[in-house]
C-alpha cells in the first residue's frame, strides 16, 4: 500500500510539472468543446469535469437481469435491482470529489477525479487524460461475508475477525480520451482494483482494461457504449486456476442531455455500479442472457 501511495505522489508531482507548461500553450489553443456531455458514461467516468463550483447529483439504477423475459417484465419487477446515489463537487478547476451510496454490499464510497490535460482544438494536446480513484467501504453485517476472511480453513467468517480495514476496496484508473469528430468521442483506460478482503478462492487484485465512447446522432442525443475487461494476469493472481474469473462488463444505450441534465438509458451486464465491484465480481455474461436494463441521471447546479 505504501508503495502505491508513493507512486501516486510521484505521478502527481510529475504531471504538475507538465501542467505548468501546458498553461503557457493554453493562451493560444483552447480545450475542445464538450468531448462528452457528462462526467458519467453509463457506469464509467469520462475525462469531462464540469466547471469549478458545480454540484452534481447522480442517480444510477440497474434493474434485475432480463433472462426471465416477460414474466418479470425484463427485469423491471425483479428483486435483483441495484441503485447508487451520489453527490460530486468541483472545488478547483478540473478536479472533482464525490461521495456515494450503493445498495449492493451497502457500499459507501469516496471518489476523486482529476483531468490532467484537456484535448485542445488545435491539437497542441491531442488527447484528454484523467485520473480517477475510488475507495469504498462494505457496510454489511459480518454474517454476510460468508467465507470472506478465513486463515487456514474454508469455514465461515468469525464475527470478531472482520476489522474496518477488511471492508475497504480501492479502484484507480487512468483514462485517455479523444474527441475525434463532432460526433465521435472514444476513451481507453487501465485500472487497478484491490479488495482488502475476498473469499479464499478469489484474488485480491485485478487489472482492468476499459474502452468506451459516444456516437452523437443529434445535437442532444448520442449512442453510448462501454466495455470493461478484467484481465487474466497470472503474475498477480493468487489462484492456480481461473475459477470464477469475472466476466467483462458490456453496456450500450442512449444518452440525452440538456443544459443541466444527462439521461442515459442502457442495457448492460454488471449488476455492480461502483467500478471496483464491476471489475472484481461481475459474473453476468452478455453472451448468456446476462443483460439488464439500467439508467443514469445527473443534475448539475452552479454556485
Amino acid at each position: 500500500m505504501k508503495k502505491y501511495i508513493w507512486f501516486l505522489i510521484i505521478l502527481w508531482v510529475a504531471f504538475n510539472g507538465v501542467s505548468a507548461q501546458e498553461a503557457e500553450v493554453k493562451e493560444k489553443d483552447k480545450p475542445v468543446r464538450t468531448p462528452f456531455e457528462s462526467g458519467y458514461l453509463i457506469d464509467n467516468q469520462t475525462t469531462l469535469i464540469p466547471i469549478k463550483g458545480t454540484l452534481e447529483y447522480v442517480i444510477q439504477h440497474k434493474f434485475g437481469k432480463m433472462d426471465k423475459g416477460i414474466s418479470d417484465f425484463y427485469g423491471i419487477y425483479s428483486p435483483g435491482a441495484n441503485v447508487r446515489l451520489g453527490i460530486n463537487y468541483v472545488p478547483v478547476k478540473n478536479f472533482q470529489i464525490g461521495i456515494g451510496q450503493t445498495k449492493k454490499n451497502m457500499y459507501t464510497d469516496l471518489n476523486a477525479k482529476w483531468t490532467i490535460f484537456e484535448q485542445t482544438r488545435e491539437n497542441t494536446i491531442p488527447v484528454a487524460v484523467a485520473l480517477y480513484g475510488m475507495v469504498a467501504v462494505d457496510g454489511r453485517n459480518v454474517s454476510a461475508f460468508e467465507t470472506g476472511k478465513v486463515v487456514n480453513t474454508k469455514g465461515p467468517t468469525l464475527p470478531k475477525s472482520v476489522k474496518f480495514d477488511d471492508r475497504l476496496s480501492y479502484f484507480s484508473q487512468l483514462i485517455v480520451g479523444r474527441k475525434f469528430t463532432e460526433w465521435l468521442s472514444l476513451q481507453a483506460g487501465a485500472s487497478f482494483t484491490h479488495y482488502n478482503m475476498v473469499g479464499w478462492d478469489y484474488d485480491h487484485d485485478k487489472i482492468g482494461a476499459h474502452f468506451n465512447g459516444r456516437i452523437k446522432f443529434s445535437p442532444q442525443s448520442s449512442f453510448i457504449f462501454n466495455y470493461d475487461v478484467p484481465l487474466k494476469i497470472k503474475k498477480i493472481s493468487e489462484q492456480w486456476e481461473w475459477t470464477d474469473h469475472p466476466k467483462p462488463n458490456l453496456a450500450f444505450g442512449v444518452e440525452i442531455s440538456t443544459s443541466t441534465h444527462a439521461f442515459q438509458i442502457y442495457m448492460g451486464t454488471a449488476e455492480g455500479i461502483i467500478p471496483q465491484d464491476m471489475v472484481m465480481w461481475n459474473q453476468n455474461d452478455w453472451k448468456n442472457k446476462g443483460l439488464a436494463i439500467g439508467f443514469t441521471i445527473t443534475r448539475l447546479w452552479n454556485f
Binding site: R33, I51, P219, S259, T260
Partner: protein, 140 residues
C-alpha cells in the same frame, strides 16, 4: 367506510375537472410578455467580436439546442417548458427581437432576469456566447 358515502361528490368533481381542463387550454393565451428590459449602458454599446462568423453558427445551434430549446422551442418560444412559465416567450423571428443590438441580446441571453435564468456559469466562453447570438440572428 361505505363506498356510497361519497357518491354525492361525483357531479361537482366532474364539473370541476372539466373546468380545470378548459382553463388549461385557455390560460396560456392570457400570458403577457415581460415588460421592457433595463439594459446597462455598457451592454447596449457592446460590440460582437465574432459578428458575421459563419463557422460559429453551427456551434451556436448546438449550444442553443442544449441550453435554450426546452423553453424557447425551435424559434417561436413554444418549447415544452414554456407552458409552465408566468410570462409569454417572444419568438426570435419577431422584428421586436431582431431589431435589438447584439449587445442587448447578449445581456438578455446570458445575464437574464426573472424567469430567464443566468447562463454565465453554463456557457463560460465568450466565443460560445457570441456563437449563440449569431445563431439567433439566423432565425429571422
Amino acid at each position: 367506510m361505505k363506498k356510497g358515502n361519497f357518491r354525492f361528490l361525483t357531479y361537482p368533481l366532474a364539473v370541476l375537472f372539466t373546468g380545470l381542463l378548459l382553463v388549461a387550454f385557455v390560460a396560456p393565451q392570457d400570458k403577457k410578455f415581460g415588460g421592457p428590459w433595463e439594459i446597462p449602458a455598457n451592454y447596449k454599446t457592446m460590440k460582437n467580436p465574432n459578428a458575421g462568423d459563419a463557422d460559429l453558427v453551427k456551434v451556436g445551434k448546438m449550444l442553443y439546442t442544449k441550453h435554450c430549446k426546452s423553453c424557447h422551442g425551435n424559434v417561436a418560444g413554444d418549447g415544452p417548458k414554456a407552458a409552465s412559465m408566468k410570462v409569454a416567450i417572444r419568438s426570435f423571428a419577431d422584428a421586436e427581437f431582431q431589431k435589438q443590438s447584439d449587445g442587448v441580446i447578449y445581456y438578455q441571453s446570458f445575464i437574464g432576469r426573472d424567469e430567464m435564468p443566468n447562463f454565465e456559469k453554463k456557457i463560460i466562453e465568450e466565443e460560445d456566447r457570441w456563437a449563440i447570438v449569431n445563431y439567433l440572428r439566423t432565425l429571422k
